[in-house]
Symmetry: C2
Subunit: 226 residues, 2 copies
DNA sequence: ATTTTTATTTGATCGAGGTCAAACCACCTT
DNA sequence: AAGGTGGTTTGACCTCGATCAAATAAAAAT
């Protein structure tokens, strides 16, 4: 892990992100002033459940996985954060302790924001507080969505739902590239890789073609019905 | 559903709750000033997923269930809120639309807080914003905990975990009363009632006794190992 | 291009838990 | 005491997805 300064590309990613995008410039600058940038190899462990954690992370590039460990060593993914996402914010409100493990999935650049400073800024700047609340809310929703899907949908249905989530409304014919390995998608959907593979092959009958990382949809309706 | 005013017992519940407990008196009073109280029969539907929702609910007494519907009509519980809990807050940040269905589980009294007002108050009062962030955070945690447990633990392990969550640390011999029907516990744990029943009977071997709603633990270690 | 490594698919097996039906039980009412 | 009513338990069966092992495919390294 190497420590660097923010370059202009990093700034662009930060300013274009959902979180920083709607903050007043003054607040953004105050935060970015003493941000620390670090680079990580793939599979680097960022923090572990229960460990002290006094900053919030922003993904400048790469991919990070949040997960919990079972006592038998098995892992359950809680969330996957691509570039532009902020994570680790819940520790800020829970005694500065991480509530899960975090690991990079690929080579990743992160910006670290001091949580004390962010929290203080939120006290003084309603827009920051509001942005934080929206972030927390979105993360809560993500977890609730996952929970509901796990409980209500079969593996092929969850995969169909994931695909549809990446397909603009009203379009019936569509294709896109997975932003990560199938491996990772499987974890995100709470499936073993084998189950994901089988789910894809079950969806083939409903007009889904998979070539490497590229997914093609030929019949949106069929997917929705699945 | 009948509409009432806050009585002194209601105020006590509100003031003793996790959310209002740490607010400055002025903020609490501002909120309570135009709270609306309503009573509901059991199984009353409070709101449905996607519907407009312009207030936040506080449980004065009774029990409320948040759940999502699958397209086949099956239901997946997201959370269960007993007296003293605030819920429905996420709609505030997501365009005033409910993200799930809510239903009373038993006869219930609710206080409704206007979300516009609460949000405005949060802008002006850092303590309110902070309390809201902690609430959102706790709810996000609850969902993540559920998700992780669903993915990592078997039915008996989830039940064991629930029991241990109700048992003070360091005590080996313990007994408590379920705060709701087994029915409800099953839903909360993402199990069919039959599966909960079987889980209990699997735990009997580890020193758990179930008599009606009363759960007795005779060997904490055995439960932890399960 | 060839080898090595890593990711994905396929096959076979197994177990957890859902579902349906029936029995059981507790608590009410009459 | 008899009869409801609704929650809970038990039994039987079956489906989904985990797991293990092996085959393939794709990527990276030489």
């Amino acid at each position: 892990m190497k420590t660097l300064r923010l370059n202009s590309n990093d700034r662009a990613v930060l300013l274009g992100s959902c979180f920083f995008g709607k903050l007043p410039m003054a607040a953004t600058n105050a935060i970015l002033d003493d941000v620390v940038v670090s680079t990580h190899e793939e599979h680097d462990i960022l923090f572990g459940q229960g460990e002290p954690l006094d900053h919030v992370f922003f993904v400048l590039s790469g991919l990070v996985r949040l997960y919990r460990l079972g006592k038998d060593g098995r892992e359950a993914d809680i969330a996957v954060f691509p570039r532009g996402e902020l994570f680790g914010e819940s520790a800020m409100f829970l005694g500065n302790r991480a509530t899960a493990n975090a690991q990079t999935i690929e080579t990743t650049m992160l910006a670290r924001i001091d949580s004390r400073k962010l929290r203080k800024l939120a006290e003084q700047t309603p827009e920051v507080a509001d942005a934080l609340m929206q972030l927390l809310c979105r993360h809560a929703q993500m977890a609730e969505d996952c929970l509901a899907e796990d409980r209500l949908l079969t593996a092929p249905q969850r995969v169909a739902s994931y695909i549809l989530g990446n397909c603009p409304d009203g379009i019936t014919n569509f294709s896109f590239r997975l932003p990560f390995q199938k491996n990772v998608l499987a974890g995100k959907l709470g499936l073993a890789p084998e189950a994901l593979s089988r789910a894809f092959s079950a969806l083939r009958r409903s007009g889904v073609t998979v070539k490497g990382r590229v997914i093609e949809i030929h019949d949106r309706q069929a997917l929705e019905r699945f």
